[in-house]
Every structure is written in structure tokens, then in C-alpha cells.
């Protein structure tokens, strides 16, 4: 019976295992018309202190502000001034210019690894703008936009990417796993979704101290399958913690489409319903909608009205990382057919529609930003690139395992230094 061969006498139907399959594979013609795209401005905006259940219809809707006419619509329009809009546009464009240059630097062998966020810039840049500057960010690995929105120096980022002698993380972390306590940006982990309970814990600590800082965390839709996601949302609702969970649904987790995280059955925003947490589902390529949703959640958290789960519905326009080739598993047409457009183009067109920007200004800005990135690279390269000797002294490898070096690490540090002297008796040329 165990092999299924002997089912005589049973009238029970055969079971069938469902293994999700994405709609399109390489070479397929892509048609995204099955994705429901709601009317910009048509979604109601509950009060920030509303009962969580008032938001539940929004978990299966899509909050949108910018329309095809490039104008802002409806109650979620954050009514930002042109200066702020231009600032967000500039930062998103800087993230893209940075990504393009760093991707090339990896291909040129200056570092081992890089990850772009092309198409997803609004979900980090505009969300960060909606937070206070000292609200604690617990990022995943594709939130370079949060750092850039907080004004982090590009050379610091590049030093980290190159693991060079000026890398303040001492060459210990995989490229792009930044950390900046000064900018309230938590250390990035390569283990997925671990930041979610941590963000909840930070928020609980802040609340227990009667502070006003909240926490915001980011996670990919694929990683919502981790147990940490459930733990974090449970703790957040149990203690009514002032925390925002940003789920970046960019459709792909390396080669696994969102169906492997459950997207065939429910939206990711709808996860909030089971916890009794406020949930919002937002067009992640609409900079104004992202800002408005994040600000709503931040105001809610700061008013002790509880946590919010925001699903940012977007598309990962590039590969997972420099180690990934998406043409091996998905149709190249997906990117061009994506129905929600590109966040930079959409904000640019909105500003032009407002009479606050022009194609010429955009072109000049892009050029200037690219120059800025190149100059920063040159600056950082003076401190070395990966594998070219300009790393931190060997002893630093053993520091910060503990606050103080115990005897066994001291012994091992001596060994590492001895090995180096044996290998390079004349001293290594740098």
C-alpha cells in the first residue's frame, strides 16, 4: 500500500501534489492582464488610529496615487511639495546610477558580489522619507535606497563593497551588507527574515522606555515563508509594538516565483488579517503611494495604535545578484510588460506635469549623479579593491568576536600572523 500499488477496494480519490509553476518561462510571450490594477485614487484612506480591521479591504486592493495622466489622485495623495518630490527623484536616480556603476565594478573584478534594486527604488527611498531620521531601519539586502535617502556617503558604501582598508566593517561582511548606527540603519544579515523579530524587539524596547522612535523593517516576499516572519508578527501584535513590516513583493526570490511563498492563494498584505494587524497593499512603483502608506503606518505606530504590514507590489527588473542570470528561468518580456511602470519615470513625469521639472533637467541630473558616483569610486579605490592587499591588519580578524580577546583567539591570531610571515618572508608588497 505504501507504494500506492494496492488500492483495490478503496473508492477514495487519488491525491495530487500541487507544485506551483510561474506563468511564463524563457522565450514565452508575457501577458500581465490577469493582474488586477486598481484605479488611482479610488482606495479609501482610514484614519491612522482606526481599528486594524478597517484596513483589511486594502489588503486585497492596491493603493495607487499616480495615474496614467501623471497626476496625483485621491485621499492617499501625500501632497508633498515640489522640493521634496525632487529630492526623492534625485535619490532614486542616484541609487540607480550607483547600482549601474557597482554592477560594472563587480564585472571588472573589483569586488566579489553586488545586488541591484532596479525598479524597486521607491520602496526604500520613498519609504525612508516617510520616517523620522532616527527611526530605526532593519533592512534586508536590497535597501541601499534607505541609506542613500539618509545621506550616507557613497565612498563609505564603496569601501564596504570593496572590503578595502577603509571599510569600517573591516572587510568582514559580504558586499552590500552595510551598517550605520549613526544613520539608525541596522547591520544587514545574510540570513533571511532574522531582522523581523529584531525590529519588533527594538520597537518593544523603545515603547518600554517611553521613547518616540519606531522601527521599520524590510523583507522580500519569498522570506515571509520563514518562521521569523510569524514570530515577529505575533510579538508585534501581542505587544502592540511600534513597528512597520515592509514586504517587498518583487515577484521573484532568485529563481522561485512568489507562488512558492504562497502568492497563488493570498496577497502578502492579507497575512496581516490573521494577526489582527493593520495591513496595506500598495503599488510599489508609485513613489507617492509608497510614501503615503509608510507615513500612515509611521503615524499609526507613533500614536501607539500598533504595527502595520505593508506589501509593496513591485517587480525585480534585474537578476537577484551578480551571481544570478534571470534569463535562465523567466521571460525577458516580463520586465517590459510590467504593468506598473518604473518608479523613477513615474515621479519624473509627475514633476514635469506639475511644471516643476523638465527632460533637460533630468538629463543633466543623471549626468551629474553619474559623475558623482564615478568620483566616489575613484576616491574609494585609493583605499584598495577586493583582493589587492589593502585590507585590514590580520589581527582585526580576531577582534569583535567578543568584547575582549580570550586566550584561544589570541593564540589563533598569533598563528595567522605567523603563517603570513612564512608565506611572505620579505613582507607582502602592497
Amino acid at each position: 500500500m505504501a507504494d500506492g500499488s494496492d488500492d483495490k477496494g478503496s473508492n477514495r480519490p487519488k491525491l495530487a501534489l500541487h507544485v506551483p509553476e510561474p506563468r511564463y518561462r524563457p522565450g514565452d510571450t508575457v501577458d500581465f492582464s490577469h493582474i488586477p490594477i486598481s484605479e488611482p485614487g479610488a482606495q479609501p484612506r482610514p484614519d491612522e488610529a482606526a481599528e486594524a480591521q478597517e484596513t483589511f479591504p486594502l489588503c486585497n486592493d492596491l493603493i495607487r496615487v499616480l495615474g496614467e495622466d501623471n497626476a496625483a489622485h485621491g485621499p492617499w495623495d501625500p501632497r508633498l511639495d515640489a522640493e521634496t518630490l525632487r529630492g526623492m527623484l534625485r535619490e532614486m536616480a542616484l541609487v540607480r546610477a550607483f547600482d549601474n556603476r557597482m554592477y560594472r565594478a563587480q564585472r571588472q573584478g573589483k569586488t566579489s558580489f553586488y545586488m541591484k534594486c532596479t525598479g524597486e527604488e521607491a520602496t526604500s527611498v520613498c519609504a525612508t522619507h516617510a520616517l523620522a531620521g532616527d527611526d530605526m531601519i532593519f533592512p534586508s539586502y536590497r535597501q541601499q535606497g534607505c541609506l542613500i535617502a539618509r545621506g550616507y556617503e557613497l565612498t563609505e558604501m564603496i569601501n564596504q563593497i570593496y572590503s578595502n582598508k577603509a571599510d569600517k566593517l573591516k572587510g568582514r561582511q559580504l558586499p552590500i551588507m552595510y551598517c550605520s548606527k549613526r544613520l539608525s540603519f541596522f547591520s544587514i544579515s545574510g540570513n533571511l527574515a532574522t531582522q523581523l523579530p529584531q525590529a519588533t524587539g527594538f520597537a518593544m524596547a523603545s515603547a518600554s522606555k517611553g521613547d518616540s522612535r519606531i522601527a521599520a523593517t524590510w523583507v522580500g516576499e519569498g522570506s515571509t515563508a520563514e518562521g521569523d516572519f510569524h514570530s515577529a508578527l505575533t510579538f508585534a501584535t501581542v505587544y502592540n509594538a511600534p513597528v512597520i513590516f515592509n514586504v517587498i513583493n518583487n515577484q521573484w526570490a532568485i529563481s522561485s516565483f512568489s507562488g512558492f511563498a504562497g502568492a497563488e492563494r493570498a496577497t502578502f498584505a492579507a497575512r496581516a488579517i490573521g494577526y489582527g494587524m493593520a495591513g496595506l497593499r500598495v503599488d510599489g512603483n508609485d513613489p507617492l503611494a509608497v510614501f503615503a502608506a509608510e507615513r500612515w503606518a509611521a503615524d499609526r505606530a507613533r500614536a501607539n495604535a500598533g504595527p502595520t504590514l505593508i506589501e509593496h507590489f513591485t517587480y525585480r527588473a534585474e537578476g537577484h545578484s551578480t551571481s544570478d542570470d534571470p534569463s535562465a528561468y523567466r521571460s525577458a518580456e516580463e520586465r517590459t510588460e510590467w504593468p506598473l511602470g518604473d518608479p523613477i519615470m513615474r515621479l519624473k513625469n509627475h514633476l514635469i506635469q506639475l511644471g516643476e521639472w523638465s527632460e533637460e533637467q533630468q538629463e543633466a541630473m543623471d549626468k551629474e549623479l553619474d559623475e558623482h558616483v564615478r568620483a566616489s569610486m575613484k576616491q574609494a579605490e585609493k583605499n584598495g579593491i577586493l583582493g589587492h592587499g589593502l585590507h585590514h591588519p590580520f589581527h582585526t580578524m580576531f577582534e569583535d568576536v567578543f568584547e575582549e580577546l580570550p586566550w584561544h583567539l589570541e593564540e589563533q591570531a598569533e598563528q595567522a600572523i605567523r603563517e603570513r610571515k612564512i608565506k611572505f618572508p620579505e613582507g607582502r608588497p602592497e
Partner: protein
Amino acid sequence: MTPPAETMDQERQTGEAKDAGETREMNMIEAINSALDNMLERDDDVILLGEDIGYFGGVFRCTAGLQEKYGKTRVFDTPISECGIIGVAVGMGAYGLRPVPEIQFADYIYPGLDQLISEAARLRYRSAAEFTAPMTVRSPFGGGIFGGQTHSQSPESIFTHVSGLKTVIPSTPYDAKGLLISCIEDNDPVIFFEPKRIYNGPFDGYYDKPAKSWKGFDEAQVPEGHYRIPLGKARTVREGDAMTILAYGTMVHVVESVTRSKGVNAEILDLRTLVPLDIEAIEESVRKTGRCMIVHEATRTSGFGSELSALVQERCFYHLEAPIERVTGFDTPYPHSLEWAYFPGPVRIGEAIDKLLQD
């Protein structure tokens, strides 16, 4: 198992028990409660969290009365989620708190391992010390209470294998308090395993005799106030020259009783801290006695005894007169009905002592 008075005096001097106030007889549960009480009082950033630890005071009563005294935002119950408990403690540490999470049984700690191993233990390193995880994870461990395989395990070697974690195991009420205070004040994450078989009294390994309480033992005389026992310092339980026995937790008491009943003049070291290890004390003793036995309750293969055995061999080989003996639990789950067949009791220890002396 009261050691000679001069040993006790010496031991107290290695700690900072002076000016720690009135002394009172406490069992290990009360000593742990007293340490937590002292730390909650001294440092507003210390908070306690865990399953059933708040109003109820913990399934072993270690946190009894603390919520009432310090309030619900400093001592509180959690959802049944070890991943969540450790994960939020990492975030609280990032904020600047000094959380003391309790995992109800060491056997339950595994869902929290990713948060311990990949996060708490690595945060200082990966952020170049911008963020740290100054937490003390308390958890009762070990068997001998008919807990079956899910309430009896000794998983310490999982944690000693992780770079960035300290592992501490007390064996007396006095040590439990002083060590726990040092752990909470330490700026690195610490696993603090409490040998639950000796919560209420020392255990000599003779399970068929009436259980003893801590009443009347010098080690149960615990100051009410704050004092520290430094991490990384072993305690000489008794001096001797026939052999060195390395033990920790419950097994300290078992080996002490077995050596006494056999009349063996063994030197017994209670390691107290596995990482960082007091290698000096170990080397000094083994060089003196020339024989070494290692005793732990945990399973044998890749147990902490393997590490100890390797270290002694590497560092004291030319002083050894016999192969190192390891006495451990068997490589099976901890069985319920055959608990005492698993436990490295007087027979197993006695046999190893004889062998070590004959070799």
C-alpha cells in the same frame, strides 16, 4: 559535600563577595532569583522575558515575585516562540537594553538557534562593534528529574562550538548568583545553563537515596547583595594529587561524592565557564597530577569533553601518565524509564577512576 573551610575562603576571594550584604541560606532557584532582583534594581536597562516568567514566576519559580516588584514592562510573559524570544532580545540589545530571556527548557532552545548563532553571536563582529547583543539566555538543562528526552538534554557543546557565544554553567547557589550577575553585566551574549537537578539540593548520583536539600551547605550561604564571580575562572572543588577531574554542573557533585566514597585523592575542577575556558587552571592541575578524567552528562560524541580531551593532550601530553578518561552520557536520546541507565552515575565514574589509576 562541604569543602574545607579554607577552600571556601579562597573561593570567595576570587569573587567580589565583600560588601555584598547579609548572607542568607538559598537554594539555587532563590540564588538566581536574587541575582535577577539585584540586577533589575541596579540597572533600568535589564529586562526579563520568557514563557510563564511574569505573573506566575516561571515553571521553576526563578522569577517569582519579580514582575510584582518591577512591573510588567520589565518582567513579562512571551508567546511560545523561542525564535521570537531570542530575536526580539537581539533588537532590544540594539536599542540599548540588557535583556535576560528565559528559555523554559534547554531542549526548547533549538527554534531560536538561528537568532543565537547567526545573529546574537555575530552582531558585534559583523557591525565592527557598532551594535552588540548583550543578552544572557537563561535555561534549565540536564536530566535526572524524569523529564524524558525533551526535558533532560545537555546541549552545551552546540553553543561552545559557536564563535561569539559564551557558555556558563554553575554548580552551587553561591556560584549561580555571582556568575549570573557577571553574565548579565557582560557585553557579549551568554548562554547560562542551570542544572535543574541541583536547583533544590546537591545530587551525589545515588538516585535511590532520599534527595538532599541545600540546607546546611556552605555553598548555599548566599549574600543578599550584588557580587560577581568572574567568567573564565574555574573553581577548585577539592585539591588532590591522584588525578584531575574536570566537571561542571550536576556532575561536580557526583564526582565529588564518588571520589570520596572510593577514597581517591582527586583534584576536582568545576569549570564554571566553558567559553572562555580557564585553561591555566586545567594545565596546572593536570601537570601536577599526571592523570585526567572528564565528566559530563551530555552525549559523548562531539561533546565538550572531546574538546577538553584534545586540549589536555595538546598541552599536557608529556605530563600524562595514562590516557585521558571521558565519562559521559550515552549517544542516545535521554530515555524516560531508563534515565538512570543513561546518566553517568557512580558506577560509570567509579569504573573510569579505577581504569585511570591502573593505567
